[in-house]
Subunit: 402 residues, 2 copies
């Protein structure tokens, strides 16, 4: 097994000014590619600390990814630390100097002296291209390890890792078997609920499951060897077990809906008396939902409905007013229960639900939005829009086909 | 200086399934309290790796915070690793066993055998109370360092750090001077822009500045000794220098507005033809803005206005229709420019703005929302609602006092 570690650098990371999302992003990507990390560390911008840590990681690992500290300012010390760790001098890399000189002349701005510093690399270092910034990456060999230096700007870092570093690792370690990760987006079950539900399944040994919680979804990650013939069978078994709790496979719900609405050429509007604009906000998450979205009225001070049937009438009326194909609507019925309605030319549907426990208002809005979006998903699939989810108790439903 | 390190444990952290927000949260809090971290590392759930790392950190540090691995399942190995590192056995801690036995009897559920495992601590360990969970924290002394073990559940972790660990550190290291951190929320300047603007100021040596970017704001953090007499002077000097770019001091803009709207007893509605529900969403962020919010119409397919004055008319009309005191409204004028309007009984105001560079649609919505919220803030303060921000070029304004 290839031993891989990552060193995050910088006071802003070490002191919590920024959350180290580069580390979690790299860790997840590498794991999926078969290059699981076995160690990560973080140090500040002190030359001795950096140098010591680079040496220590090179001794314990086959590959070390160093992130940050390649900028133009005096507290960016990764190149100097690399040179010190390797016992060589820094030298001006003519190739990278030419690249950034050309870059500044192209954008018509003078190059600061501090940018020239970014072309100072340890002797013998190999440049890693950065097509989107002035900090080049580079690699050195140290104590038998390949040590790769990468910029801290997330956009530059991610591009360099994807386009340059992963291919390098794959060709250096051709025997590492890439995993494939299929993602099942679930709603309405907790992690332990999902694990219990799946415990009866006979998952092949080469497969493993992981969970990741994205409020309000829990993503079930199914890792397997890249070209395993059983992948389809396992995914089908899992989705059959989780049934109505599966809202998307390898595609988040909102994208599933975007495709569905585009397919049907349906235009959607929303009446939001509970969800405070959350439905509208979600419709902006992909181009396809955005194009299928007409309008939402977010009403914060509306009176509760007296009758559940009012929800059907209001949703239907609003659909006709706005010339929408679909209306999703939510209303208060009283302090504890809510009417969730869907109106289309095929029919009008409403359910009266209440939460099983207390949630903060923001969570309530997201949970109700998710149920409504799932009603839409099921309607697009010609299924009944009413299913049970763990967060809610369903008190009653009304269905009126047109 | 006290040397402090943190060890995050668990495959889910190491492989990027979760972002290590416990680490950034602790790092920020400790920094502000004068206990800056000097090293962080992450390992998975392997006993040997954990043991080795606990020993290594105890050798380099005065204080080590270990996070995670105290749960009831077999992959939770931190207690065992602690015992192995210290060369002692695990023993059943009667005090903690009694605590969790009592806890389960209180909630009326049987205690699983696996929970009893959570009371197995290294001989000589001192319990750290966890009033909100079944995993107790504990501390051991190792190689002259105080090593503190904490649960991974963020809510339990944060409570334990605040209520137990910080007071312990303060009494163990009474000479560490606590910093105070005042936060200035700015908008419309980049980090380097702010640094340039502030470079002319004579900041006392005991003070230091930090920046934290929360899109769309950049928070300027002013660290100083806890009871320094110059704090007010320095804060005033900084806010005077940054002028209209300061949208809040020690309080985010939305909370400033919540207080302002409550004070004036103004009720607000919004017309969103560009911001896709972002204004409505933000009004839900605090109780005070929520209570002052009537409704928003989020319109995605409205035609661009032909005249800037139409924005004034529409905002004013909508204000009267909804019986609101304030309307914030945004409209497309053409593909490149937008009308941002505020209507109140004091007057109607609109500005025609265009972005100086290309932003993704989500960022456009947030930036425009922020400008409108700042127009409201300034209106509440009886100031002209029009100021310049770095992201925008302002093409024209119309102001009609009533």
């Amino acid at each position: 097994m290839v031993k891989i570690s990552m060193l995050s650098t910088g006071e802003e990371v070490l002191h919590g000014d920024i959350v180290d999302t580069n580390a979690s992003w790299l860790s997840e990507l590498f794991f999926e590619q078969g290059f699981a990390l076995d160690y990560r560390s973080t140090v500040g911008d002190q030359l001795e600390e950096l140098t010591t840590e680079i040496i220590a990681l090179s001794q314990r690992s086959d590959v070390v990814i160093v992130n940050g500290g390649l900028g133009p300012t005096s507290d960016d010390l990764s190149s100097l630390a690399a040179a010190q760790a390797a016992g060589v001098a820094l030298e001006l890399n003519q190739e990278w100097l030419a690249t950034i000189t050309e870059y500044f002349s192209r954008i018509g701005r003078p190059m600061a002296d501090s940018n020239a510093k970014q072309a100072m690399l340890p002797q013998g270092a190999i440049v890693i291209d950065n097509p989107v910034g002035t900090a080049c990456g580079f690699s050195i060999e140290l104590n038998g390890a390949l040590v790769l230096f990468t910029p801290g700007v997330p956009f530059e870092f991610k591009k360099m890792v994807r386009d340059e570093i992963l291919p390098t690792l794959k060709s250096r370690f051709p025997d590492v078997e890439r995993l494939v990760c299929n993602k099942i987006y679930t709603f309405g079950l907790g992690e332990s609920g999902i694990a219990d539900t799946l415990s009866s399944l006979d998952i092949p040994e080469a497969f493993s499951l992981g969970y990741r919680s994205y409020m309000p979804f829990i993503e079930v990650k199914v890792f397997s060897p890249y070209s395993d013939s059983k992948i389809e069978t396992v995914l089908t078994a899992i989705t059959e077990q989780l049934k109505d709790n599966v809202l998307g496979i390898n595609q988040p719900l909102i994208e599933v809906l975007g495709d569905g609405l585009m397919d049907k050429q349906w235009q959607l509007s929303a009446l939001e008396q509970v969800t405070g604009g959350e439905l509208a906000r979600q419709m902006y998450q992909s181009e396809s939902t955005q194009q299928s979205f007409i309008q939402s009225v977010v009403d914060n001070q509306a009176e509760p409905l007296t009758e559940l049937t009012d929800a059907l009438l209001l949703a239907n009326e609003y659909r006709l007013d706005t010339q929408s194909d679909i209306v999703l609507a939510n209303f208060k019925l009283d302090d504890e229960s809510f009417a969730l309605a869907l109106s289309s030319k095929l029919g009008n549907y409403v359910q009266n639900v209440t939460f099983k426990r207390t949630y903060p208002i923001k969570a309530q809005q997201v949970l109700i939005t998710t149920v409504l979006l799932d009603m839409l998903r099921r309607h697009i699939n010609d299924e009944s829009p009413f299913v049970e989810f763990g967060h809610f108790e369903r008190l009653s439903v009304i269905e009126r086909k047109q």
